[in-house]
Chain length 485, copies 2
Amino acid sequence: MSKKPEKDSFVTEITPRSQDFSKWYLDVVRRAELADYSPVKGCMVIRPYGYAIWELIQQALDRRIKETGHVNAYFPLFIPESLLNKEAEHVEGFAPQVAYVTHGGGEELEEKLVVRPTSEAIIGTMYAKWVQSWRDLPLLINQWANVVRWEKVTRPFLRTTEFLWQEGHTAHETGEEAEAETLKILHMYKETLETEMAVPVVEGQKSESEKFAGALRTYSIEALMGDGRALQAGTSHNLGQNFAKAFDITFQARDKSVQYVWGTSWGMTTRLVGAAIMVHGDDSGLVLPPRIAPFQVVIVPIGRDNWRETVLPKALEIQRELQAAGIRVTLDEREERPGWKFAEWELRGVPLRVEIGPKDIEKSAVLVARRDTREKQSLPMQDLADQLRALLDQIQRNLLDRALAFRAAHTQRAATYDEFKQVMEGRPGFVIAPWCGSAECEAHIKTETQATIRNMPLDPPAASGRCIRCDNPAQHAEAWFAKSY
Amino acid sequence: MSKKPEKDSFVTEITPRSQDFSKWYLDVVRRAELADYSPVKGCMVIRPYGYAIWELIQQALDRRIKETGHVNAYFPLFIPESLLNKEAEHVEGFAPQVAYVTHGGGEELEEKLVVRPTSEAIIGTMYAKWVQSWRDLPLLINQWANVVRWEKVTRPFLRTTEFLWQEGHTAHETGEEAEAETLKILHMYKETLETEMAVPVVEGQKSESEKFAGALRTYSIEALMGDGRALQAGTSHNLGQNFAKAFDITFQARDKSVQYVWGTSWGMTTRLVGAAIMVHGDDSGLVLPPRIAPFQVVIVPIGRDNWRETVLPKALEIQRELQAAGIRVTLDEREERPGWKFAEWELRGVPLRVEIGPKDIEKSAVLVARRDTREKQSLPMQDLADQLRALLDQIQRNLLDRALAFRAAHTQRAATYDEFKQVMEGRPGFVIAPWCGSAECEAHIKTETQATIRNMPLDPPAASGRCIRCDNPAQHAEAWFAKSY
């Protein structure tokens, strides 16, 4: 049995964001108890506070997935190796990253099982059984699941060997329908991030070298983090008929001919929690958008030694009132100094703090502090829930506006490759530049500047200008470059 | 590309329940599209209709888990073999059933990873880090996850190599608190099954030979299926200090001494979907309790060829009205005969069918058919939502009453071992009998009759009588025996 010290004070210094973004990120994740390292290499533990944020994102996304006609299902964790091997590009893309189960139930398995890195192979196999006629289409299925991709360098939420996600897999009669689905989901993802997480994103198409292994076309949404790096926040793939051909997913068409279905797949992951941290956080820690905040309001009783008698009853009454109004609220009753509590809940990013002391009670008012602007104001207790709800809406909007302004200030066009390199060396962001379309140029730019093409506009302007690097005629007038996570 | 026939008519015969219960079960699972076999041995695919039932059970349970002060988190899928080995009984119980990951990222792993069969080992390791002082207790964490236990004989929902579940893991200051938590959860499980699923259960304690590997005491809830076999529907374990000692989970107590925490763990799984099928279903298929029915009401338009013009608009109006009232409703617009549709939705167990035809519209009424009693009645369209809600409540209650009556009719006391064997050979059920307490007698009874001790009452009557098999003085006056899944 090991002797243990009293737990460290929760609110210890975190590295200022302005000083070392990467260290700040890890400090926030750990000190706000969002996640912890586990004894399994590359895998994290999502702690309750971090998981509560994920649950709110999940609910918001699941609602939209269902509203757009999709249903949830569950497919096996394991994929027989032979199935993964059926689509050539797919296996080439994923094989280096997979984990293999070789023994089960005390015996060596006849065929190795892959722990799913994504589920096209297993779902495609089932779709081949389920789809017979055009009447069975479209098939619109989503799955919430864990997946495993072996990673060498990991970072909590952003890149872990195991992560949680949703993966949609659909099958359609025509290529046009599949393309429409792919874009519908992309727009749904964008709307979810902007509405729920106050994270603005750029929609666009990935280059050939960055597309999903086995897809015809990949679209992504890209968000700009507080350090000027981009984060791919979601992807939506038009699979064409590639998987249908590999897995023999055919149907009898309206004209009685036998056709391959057209497929899509799309996913967003627990990395979204990382995006929320890195877009909104500041030197004091997390700043959570109200819609994904596990607690939207924290009530901190203020007072002398006898606050449990004088202040607590009123604080409890307010808590009940806010709860009844549907506000997620917590009351910090612990025996600690108010200042310590303020710092703790700021670190945890709670949007509104309500302070209540004997003088406030006399005035029938409370002191309310906003996490985003740090403004404080006295508000009457009368209709407090309505007033706080209005403030929460303001905070949600303000965070989006702030992130939009930040992105605008960090998105520029480069006229020359020197200028391009200069931006990427300094305080980066998105750089819009023409690109010749060659994978070679793309690779050179990455080697020379660390920047990659995040995506290209959905409605691209006509090809014009010359490639930012090689000066050949540009095939894409606007490619969005950035360093990325 | 393979030629495909038109899909078979959905509503084909299912084996009558009364004729072959086991075949009936598999027919219902397949024909109602609850689950399908997968290309991975022992793993099933949960299809959208089956998954929707699971989601409703999950939401009902998750709400209760949170209301009782627990929070959700997520721990890694993989457990290093050395961690599983730390608790001797635990590894002995689970090692034969585990799957091993031996290769990842193109390399052989230095240490094999176990795919979690349950998470005590990984969670215990984290609790050792997180718990320092009595102020950190109780720690009340739940996880929704997939787990893997290699199975030789599998059956959809009831026993599969991979399954979905929730697993709660708590740590407490005292043994009394841990015991109280274990029982609180047991009661919560019972209440959830009875309220939400209309499945009555018997609470009790497991015998030593049936308890969880590594636990001090295991409690279970046991439900009686329509064929007279029992199904263990949930378990709650008092782990004592076993895992705390194995994983060094200590805390500084109020008296400054260093103590091991007291633990509990508890889980319910996707097998609950199987319980709902087997408790309520009949010869025509599923009968779903309204609270876990993906669709509580199906509207079937009746009419001649022009029903799309004459009947559909009113049917859509009713659908919207019911939706607005919070009833889960679907409208079957397909080009099929009404009789075909009736059979399909009966097979799928939808609690209420609303038929609407031109004559009903004239009378401003609809015809409503109950799935549980098959009674039909004409109801005025006025306040239809309220009337249907009342009917749904009646159905929910009726299903519970029916299941309670069935259990009462299939629970008896045996005076002699011959009588005991006779019951188990015929149409079985629960048999209450005295037991000497020896594992040997328990094992013999299992070999000779297939019956096992499901559990023993929480408040047992004083020891009295003689063991049903060996005639030695009984240590337990009432052990509940049954054949089981």
